[in-house]
C-alpha cells in the first residue's frame, strides 16, 4: 500500500482527509503512483500533471524520504521505503505568492 500526502487544496478537491492509500500494481514509480492516484480520484487529473503531456505542473514538487525526487525520471523506481509503505510520497505545492 502506497501512502501519498497531497497538498491541502488537492485534499479538499478529492474530498479526502489525511494521507491517501493506494494499491499500485507492478513497479512503484512516480508515474505509476500518479496513474493510480488519478484513476482513483479523477478530479485530480490535470492538477498535478498536464492532461496531455503528463508534464509536472511547474509549482509542484515530489519529495520522499527527505529527498527531492522532482527531477527524477517518472519511470524511475521510488525508494523502497515508499514502495513498502513505510514512508509517504509527498506532493508539495511550492511556497510562493501571498
Amino acid at each position: 500500500m502506497i501512502r501519498v500526502v497531497l497538498p491541502p487544496h488537492l485534499r479538499t478537491l478529492a474530498q479526502v482527509k489525511g494521507e491517501v492509500k493506494l494499491d499500485v500494481p507492478g513497479r512503484v514509480t512516480r508515474g505509476a503512483v500518479l496513474d493510480a492516484l488519478e484513476e482513483r480520484y479523477p478530479m485530480l487529473r490535470g492538477t498535478i500533471r498536464d492532461h496531455v503531456t503528463a508534464q509536472r505542473r511547474p509549482f509542484l514538487r515530489f519529495f520522499a524520504c527527505e529527498r527531492d525526487l522532482t527531477h527524477d525520471p517518472p519511470d524511475a523506481p521510488l525508494p523502497e521505503a515508499v514502495a513498502s509503505g513505510a514512508e509517504p510520497f509527498l506532493v508539495i505545492g511550492a511556497i510562493a505568492g501571498g
Binding site: P42, H51, R57, G93, A94
Partner: protein, 392 residues
Amino acid sequence: MSGVRVLVGTRKGAFILAGDGKRKQWNVSGPHFAGWEIYHMKGSSADPNRLYASQTSGWFGQIIQRSCDGGKTWEAPGGGMTMEPGQMPKGESNKFVYDASPETGKPLTTHQWYDGTQHPWEFKRVWHLEPSLSDPDTVFAGVEDAGLFRTSDGGKTWQELAGLRGHGTGPKWQPGAGGMCLHTILLDPANPRRMYVAISAAGAFRTDDGGKTWKPINRGLHSQYIPDPNAEVGHCVHRIALHRSRPNVLFMQKHWDVLRSDDAGDSWREVSGNLPTDFGFVVDVHAHEPETIYVVPIKSDSEHYVPDGKLRVYRSRSGGTEWEALTQGLPQRDCYVNVLRDAMAVDSLEPCGVYFGTTGGQVYASADAGDSWAPIVRDLPAVLSVEVQTLP
C-alpha cells in the same frame, strides 16, 4: 416573492449573496472553493439552479465546478471518486485541448509573443463561462490563451470551436498585461447562430453560423498603442454588452474609449462624451432601457484605480456621449479601487438593480438603477467577477 442571487468570484474563493425582492436583506454564503481564484461564475437562464464556476490556481491549474442546486453543493462534472480502476468517470472536465494540426500535432496557428516572435497556443485558465440560453448542459468557455470551447454534456468534456483561431488573424493576436484571454461571450437571444466574443488583445469577433466561422468586427476602433491604430485586429477590447431586445446594438469599453455599434459590430463610433476618463473595464446595459448604459471610469492604464479618489459609476440614458456621475452611497474620497471587466451585472427586477465588485473586496448594489448604492459586503478578497440571477 422574487429575489436575486449575486454570484461573486474573488481571488480567494466564491461567494453567493442572496437578496430579497427589495434587495435590502442579504444572506452571504462562502467562501466556496476557499483559497482558489474564481475567475467567473454564472447561472443558466434555462435552469436557474444550474451554476458553473471557473476555479483556477497557479499551482493546480483549472477546475470546472457545477452546481445543480443553486450553489448549495458543487461537483467537478464527471470527476467523482471511482471505487474500482477503469470505472467512469474520466475526470476530463478541466481538459481544454486546442484543436491540433494533423501534420504536427501542435495547436493550430501561433500568436505574437511579447518579444515579437510567434508562440504556440498554451491553455492557462477559463476566464468566462457563458451558459446557453436554452440548454443548461451547454456552456461556452472563453479561455487564455484566447480560444472558445463548448460543452454539451454539462461540463464533463469540452471541445474547441477552432474556427475562431483558424480564421486567419491569429498570428496577429498578442497578450495584454493580463494575458491573452477571451473574456467576453455574448449570445444573441434572437438568433441562436450568432455570437460575439472579445479578446485582449485582438478585438471583437462575430459568428453567424453557430461558431464555425468568424470575422473580426473592429472597424471604427482606434488604438494608439498598436502600430496601425486602425488595424483590423490588435485592439484591447475590455468588455462588450448588449440588451436582449436589441441584439444588433453593442456597447464596448475598450482599453481607452467607450464605443457603440448599431449594426452588430460591423462599424463602431466613440461615445465617450463627457466621461472624466474613458479608460475602464466594465460596461453594462439597463435591463429595461436599452439606451441606458453604465461604465466605471478608471484613471488610466498605468493607474488602475478610480480618478480623484472617488468611486463613481457613470450612466448614460442616451446610449452614450451624455453621461452623469452616480455617487450616492459610494465613497467620494480616498478610494483607489478598480472594477474588473466581468465585475458588473444587472438584475431584471423593477426598478433595475445594478451590481459591481471592486478589487478592494466591496460588492455594491443599487436597487434603483444606479441612483443610490449600498455595499452588500465590504471585505471580501479582490473581486474578479459579479453575475446576478433574478429568481422567481
